[in-house]
């Protein structure tokens, strides 16, 4: 792998980690969400370099187009708009930082010192393989995942509906007054 691919790799890595650090420290939750977007995009870039094109597109589609939108909606709906500033309070900063740094050191040491039997990967389109495996070898997990998604969808819809009993009660109380 020559110059440009390495350059792209380091750029994607820097974007991923830098944006993740911003997510961790930014006081404004909306800025943190935008930083998260860049982190996701960086991870997608890493996937592309790792010959996981389908996964990269999925990463963008699901994380950016789905989860991040949900996060933004949650931020908008759970903060009073009149507040203007969306605060994001933190606590236990020092001990958490210490734990994380130690953990990072341990993990990196483990990653660097372990001798892996590295085989050079090959660049091939993976979409067909993933589709075939999902329909043959991993059919059961696939079906379970779809049932889980359906359950999650119904659960989320049920949870976020306005409480009908409570609202009826409220109306009755208002009527009494």
């Amino acid at each position: 792998m020559s110059g440009p691919a390495d350059f792209i790799f380091y750029a994607a890595a820097a974007m991923t980690v830098g944006a993740a650090i911003l997510v961790a420290i930014l006081p404004n939750i909306l800025y943190a969400a935008v930083a998260l977007l860049f982190s996701f995009a960086g991870v997608a870039g890493l996937y592309v370099l790792l010959s996981a094109d389908f996964l990269a597109a999925t990463q963008i589609l699901v994380y950016v187009g789905g989860i991040l939108v949900l996060l933004l909606f949650a931020v908008f709906l759970s903060n009073r708009i009149s507040d203007g500033k969306t605060t994001n309070p933190t606590h236990f900063r020092l001990p958490a930082a210490a734990i994380c740094l130690v953990l990072f050191g341990v993990l990196s040491y483990a990653a660097v010192s372990t001798p892996y039997a590295v085989k050079k990967g090959v660049y091939l389109p993976t979409t067909a393989d993933i589709g075939e495996l999902l329909m043959t070898r991993y059919l059961l997990p696939f079906e379970v995942a779809s049932v889980l998604l359906l359950a999650a969808l119904i659960g989320a819809a049920l949870l976020s509906r306005p409480d009908r009993a409570a609202s009826v009660k409220g109306e009755m109380e208002e009527g009494k007054r």
Binding site: S2, G3, P4, L30, Y31, V34, L37, D53, F54, A57, T58, I60, L61, V64, G65, G66, L68, V69, L72, F73, F76, I81, G84, P125, T127
Partner: protein, 371 residues
């Protein structure tokens, strides 16, 4: 792109000393610039045509003052957009306010990369073409949401929330309606999909006429895509009469211009996808483009593709100036109660058809009857 770079280095001896990746990178930049110029030109001319069509349909004339017959109106508009003062509201979130238009523009423009303009005219023939388009256009949602929030304006926020809900809802029918084309071609690459519709069947080789389900699929896709790009009658996010102008109400100058360009870019992407997936792409009826010399084949296929795509854009404009705007609940009902179930039924139907008839469409079967 690398193959092109290699052939370029071979053709021009002057480039022999330059590292290959530099040439490749420069080529990438050049191709991106060409596409950007095309997109901008289309968006400019598109805005003019849109206003002309609106004028015709509403028994008016439309712009006719700048240049001969109003032809240069889009240049005047462009100059106006660029030169206007870029106002940022006092209480706006400055960073996000500045950032949001770029998300929208990038999300719209990045999709141009995989549009198959001709036999060999495609910036990057990704093997996940359609999926890639679906993925990058989701950036638009984020941009619109952030623009709505950062403007610190209730109309902008409502418009942004509406736009996000609408785009996310309609992404599902759009994807589901495109899958029949993917199933028939057996590939997500747009070039493969276009190639699968070639052959000597002429226009009956198109996916549109492959079987009844694909025929309906085309119209479902077109409806859903029109909603996904916030075109009238689904332009609730920018409903002028209730939300002033929705998420871009506080924007002016070049930042508004980016939203504006992204809107037209989305229009072209929708038309191009419809062309590539259902209308045969750059295939010339009853003729094999590949037999021509490289340059003539490409020019011919480019012309055919653009003709089809522009025809689709015109139909979008026609619909746009015909139908009145929906209500929000009607919009959501249309997506979740009508389009989503129908596209799923269609998908099942196409799958069954392909299974039962071994991938052959009706015209193909009729043709095989006659040998």
């Amino acid at each position: 792109m690398e193959a092109l770079a290699i052939s370029l280095v071979n053709a021009v001896p002057l480039l022999a000393g330059v590292p290959l990746w530099t040439v490749t990178l420069l080529l990438m930049v050049a191709v991106a610039a060409v596409i950007l110029v095309f997109a901008l030109t289309f968006e400019g001319v598109g805005s003019l045509v849109l206003r002309k069509v609106a004028g015709d349909i509403q028994a008016r004339i439309g712009p006719n003052r700048v240049g001969p017959n109003g032809m240069l109106q889009f240049l005047a508009d462009g100059v106006k957009l660029v030169l206007k003062e870029d106002i940022i509201p006092a209480n706006a979130d400055r960073l996000l306010f500045k950032l949001a238009p770029y998300f929208v523009f990038v999300g719209s423009f990045a999709a141009f990369v995989v549009v198959p303009f001709g036999v060999g005219l495609i910036a990057a023939d990704l093997n996940i073409g359609i999926y890639y388009v679906m993925a990058v256009t989701s950036l638009v949602v984020i941009g619109v949401l952030l623009a709505g929030w950062a403007s610190n304006n209730k109309w902008a926020l409502l418009g942004g929330m509406r736009a996000a809900a609408q785009i996310v809802s309609y992404e599902i029918p759009v994807g589901m309606a495109l899958i029949p084309a993917v199933l028939i071609a057996g590939s997500l690459s747009l070039q493969d999909i276009v190639r699968s519709q070639g052959g000597l069947l002429g226009i009956f080789g198109w996916n549109l006429f492959h079987n009844p389900f694909t025929f309906f699929s085309f119209f479902l896709y077109f409806t859903a895509a029109q909603a996904e790009t916030n075109q009238t009658p689904f332009d609730l996010p920018e409903a002028e009469s209730e939300l002033v102008s929705g998420y871009n109400v506080e924007y002016s100058g070049i930042r508004f211009g980016l939203f504006f360009l992204a809107e037209f870019g989305d229009m072209f992407i929708v038309a191009a996808l419809a062309t590539a997936c259902f209308l045969g792409g750059w295939n010339v009826p009853f003729f094999h483009v590949g037999t021509l010399p490289w340059i003539w084949g490409n020019l011919l296929s480019l012309g055919v593709f653009l003709t089809k795509a522009f025809a689709m854009v015109l139909i979008m404009m026609w619909v746009r100036w015909t139908l009145p705007r929906l209500r929000v609940d009607q919009l959501m009902r249309m997506s979740w109660k009508y389009l989503v179930p129908l596209t799923f039924v269609n998908l099942l139907g196409v799958s069954l058809w392909l299974l039962v008839f071994r991938g052959k469409g009706i015209p193909g079967m009729i043709a095989s009857l006659f040998g």
